[in-house]
């Protein structure tokens, strides 16, 4: 009975985690909720895991739990990957801001914004003339 309460608390915390993750990644939150629900069910009705294991052809209930645990681990890995991608997006925004703020010091031949009208060359004029007549 003690183990059942302990596992219930752990799985309830998974629910809380899923709730907090929902805004960022609904898919991960949904998968975590399903896993936690299944876990809670089997904690309180362990004999059902054996019956379900026999039904799906796994054999023993403990094997089914083990496979489920592997699935949960993969979900956790996926979530970590998504969090890393999120962090990378933030780093990208930061790096871009820094890069754009330093354009002046890197500028080569082209002129700054206030003088960035196209160089009025014969080539440019002729292209625009062709465009208008098209």
């Amino acid at each position: 009975m003690i183990a059942q309460f302990v596992f219930s608390i752990v799985l309830a915390s998974v629910f809380l985690y899923a709730w907090t993750e929902y805004r960022r990644s609904p898919v991960v939150a949904l998968l975590a909720s399903v896993a936690a629900t299944a876990g809670l069910y089997f904690v309180w009705f362990p004999s059902h895991s054996t019956r379900l294991a026999e039904f799906v052809g796994v054999g023993r209930g403990v094997d089914l739990i083990l496979y489920t645990w592997v699935c949960i681990s993969l979900i956790v890995l996926l979530n970590l990957h998504l969090k890393l991608r999120n962090q990378l997006e933030l780093i990208t925004v930061l790096a871009r801001t820094i890069a754009l703020a330093n354009v002046g010091s890197e500028r080569g031949g082209d002129r700054p914004a206030e003088t960035s009208r196209p160089q009025e060359t014969d080539g440019h004029r002729s292209r625009r003339r062709r465009g208008r007549s098209a």
Partner: protein, 230 residues
Amino acid sequence: MVERGLPARLWVIVAAYNEAAAIARVVTDLKRDRYQVVVIDDGSTDGTAQIASAAGATVIKHPLNLGQGAALQTGIDYALSQAAEAVVTFDADGQHRASDINCLLEGLDRERAEFVLGSRFLGHSPNLPPLRRLLLRAATLFTHLTTGLVLTDTHNGLRAMTRRGAQAIRLRQNRMAHASEILGQIAASGLRYVEVPVTIEYTAYSLAKGQRMGDSVMILFDLFARRLYR
């Protein structure tokens, strides 16, 4: 109808990472045609930025290597901040022809499109390896199934877009998946797009720098992963 004409303020965006061997010729060709060129140096360690700057380009340096998609978005942001009326994306490895830009711009004008996409299959692509041709065909089918766009070429870095088009693009795929992401955003924007024939010149250098078979798996994974979070 109001005649739109070709864009007066045009920026050519070149995303470059360790392209010291090719960037000078690319920038020189573009400058010869009087285009305003911005090179986004994506954390190169081989002096790409200095070479591009010496060739006459405006250079923006990423403090670290982020990927081609991130570099293109930086270039688009910069061009928009410079009141660009249109932008062109152009590869740094020398496989695009500066002369094709004119065809893209005429496409923007003539077809009244917001996006003009270069197609090597409508134009020419000498030395295109058969395996890559097959991969590109598969990518075209994938793009049609996922976005509904009817295209002949999907991962072609030579494109033009109007200011309105550029404002509809917000690339979040830093690496190669941006080429598919941009098409998804074009489809989502509902803005008019056309394809025009261009020439892609494959050289030993550009083939060595280009995508590989394994990259397509990563692109698919990146596109899938991007759908799993906000």
